[in-house]
């Protein structure tokens, strides 16, 4: 009689553990998807910010037409890459975003040469917005990697691994830099030509 009760209690405890493991997997999967979408949100925010930036700078920087046009062109190609993105073309999206970052960096460097623009216009505020946007994209990717790592680890731990198949849990891919050129430290050419 007592043995029967103990056995029943054990069964209940094990069932409880499995149910909470299953729920945890579902929750982590949802968080991972959410974090992935968050990256897109931040990228789009960056695309939307750039026209404001160009307008603020256009008046004072007539002699820098090339730089301005480069930024606009990079932004448009990034928007196109994002719009037609599939998981297979993720590399193209990353490349387009990288090109946009490079164009923006050159643009901000050129702005430094126009002190009155910095002082009077709201370019100071836009600079802060821009660096904040770059940070947000970076943090969104970081948060996605952290969440995806947690999801991958939990899937393979015991006893969650027992219900992983049932929960439809598949390892999530981490966001990585695929283009080796991005990893290289940018060289600054200071020779006077």
């Amino acid at each position: 009689m007592l043995g029967g009760i103990i056995f029943l209690v054990l069964v209940v405890i094990v069932a409880f553990m499995l149910v909470s493991a299953y729920n945890r997997l579902i929750s982590l999967k949802g968080q991972t998807d959410n974090a992935w979408k968050q990256i897109d949100v931040q990228l789009k925010r960056r695309h939307d910010l750039i026209p404001n930036l160009i307008n603020a700078a256009k008046g004072a920087m007539q002699f820098e037409k090339e730089t301005l046009e480069a930024v606009v062109a990079a932004r448009n190609s990034a928007v196109n890459a994002c719009a037609s993105a599939t998981p297979a073309t993720a590399g193209q999206v990353a490349a387009a975003e990288g090109a946009l970052s490079a164009a923006l960096t050159r643009f901000m460097a050129v702005v430094e040469a126009y002190p009155d623009l910095k002082a009077t216009g709201n370019i100071g505020q836009l600079q802060e917005e821009l660096s904040s946007t770059e940070n947000k994209v970076a943090f969104a990717r970081q948060a996605y990697n952290d969440t995806a790592t947690m999801y991958n680890i939990t899937q393979r731990q015991f006893p969650t691994v027992l219900v992983a198949g049932l929960a439809g849990a598949a390892p999530a891919q981490l966001w990585e830099i695929t283009d080796e050129a991005d990893r290289a430290v940018p060289t600054v050419d200071l020779t006077m030509k």
Binding site: Q42, Q125, E128, S132, N135, K136, F139, T147
Partner: protein, 354 residues
């Protein structure tokens, strides 16, 4: 060498252990008396006090000539009273709005258009919310020239972060980022809820001690029953009485221990969010270098701040004071720098091996 993930795991286990001890001690406070009475209930006990004659309900007073051996009964009366008082007080204190704390410090909401610093602050809060996968809390500014920051709020919809004027002026962008990450970590790890619950329990322990003290208890008149049981009952009673006396002191010490551990946890979480622990370490150095204590923060809210607002804790002493809500800043900086070195070593190893 520990990564911030390892440190967080260790920290959470330690907190769980302390809280379990806390709860057990508390149960003992309620159940101890019931246990003692249980052992005594074999005979007839009469507790004598000046303020009222306490007659325990399951004892009678049989004539002294015939010692009666009765059935022992366990009535968890005191455990229930303590439990109900605890739940009641906890519910009452949790429903107190965070707004009262903030208004007592003359805080005003941050407006991104008011000044470049507030603009930066609002942006930094949004960035850290993305990094920590949290919804943005309300941001407040405290008009105090001394640098400090705090986080309040018990429920997910009701989180607030407050920052002093002095902090915005003293720290650069990366350091503000570290401080905000630390505060968000407190909210994410629900430290405010934990500390509120513990503070409530401390209050109840003090109340019980007060109540027992005031009842004017002065003696036990024991007759009959099994002598062995009576002795056990008396022993348990003495232990319980001693626990009651030291309860307020012990529970306060435990709460402070938990508070210090959660500070380390928040530091490690901030390192995870920013991936820049050196910035937070520099921020702590700069804040501790400001000698003046934060005047507007009341002692009751001290444990919510990033650096203890009390003057005594700013001395930079490396000794862990048992009565401090925060660990010594030198130790916190040391731990953060260790995390930083671990990150660099791992990155270097990954670089050379790839």
């Amino acid at each position: 060498m520990a990564t911030f993930f390892d440190l967080q795991e260790k920290n959470r286990k330690k907190t769980r252990l302390i809280v379990v001890c806390f709860v057990l001690f508390f149960i003992w406070l309620g159940a101890g008396l019931d246990l003692a009475l249980y052992y005594w209930s074999g005979g007839s006990i009469r507790m004598v006090s000046y303020s009222y004659n306490y007659r325990h309900r399951y004892m009678s007073s049989p004539p002294a000539t015939t010692p009666v051996k009765k059935e022992k009964h366990f009535h968890p009366i005191f455990t229930l009273i303590v439990g109900l008082a605890g739940v009641g007080l906890a519910w009452w204190s949790m429903s107190n709005a965070a707004g009262t704390v903030l208004s007592s410090m003359l805080a005003k909401p941050a407006d991104r258009n008011r000044s470049p610093e507030e603009h930066t602050l609002v942006n930094v809060v949004e960035e850290m919310c993305i990094a920590s996968s949290m919804r943005p809390p309300k941001v407040w500014i405290i008009p105090d020239p001394d640098p400090n920051a705090m986080a309040v709020g018990l429920n997910e919809g009701d989180y607030h972060i407050a920052v002093t004027d002095g902090l915005l002026r003293t720290l650069n962008r990366d350091e503000i980022q570290g401080v905000i990450a630390h505060e968000l970590a407190h909210l994410k790890n629900q430290d405010t809820r934990l500390m509120t619950a513990l503070t409530v329990l401390v209050g109840i322990a003090a109340l019980i001690a007060e109540f027992v003290g005031r009842s004017g208890f002065c003696g036990i008149d024991a007759k009959g029953g099994d002598r062995e049981d009576n002795r056990i009952g008396s022993l348990i009673f003495i232990l319980w009485a001693v626990s009651i006396v030291i309860a307020p002191f012990v529970t306060r010490l435990m709460t402070l221990m938990v508070s210090r551990e959660r500070e380390y946890l928040a530091d490690a979480s901030a390192a995870q969010f920013t991936r820049n622990p050196e910035a937070l370490a520099h921020a702590l150095e700069k804040i501790s270098a400001a000698v003046a204590p934060t005047a507007l923060v009341k002692p009751a809210s001290a444990h919510l701040c990033i650096v203890s607002p009390a003057a005594a804790d700013l001395s930079g002493d490396a000794e862990t004071s048992w009565f401090s809500t925060h660990p010594p800043i030198a130790l916190r900086i040391h731990r953060l720098m260790t995390i930083g070195r671990t990150m660099q070593t791992k990155a270097a190893v990954a670089q050379t091996c790839s």
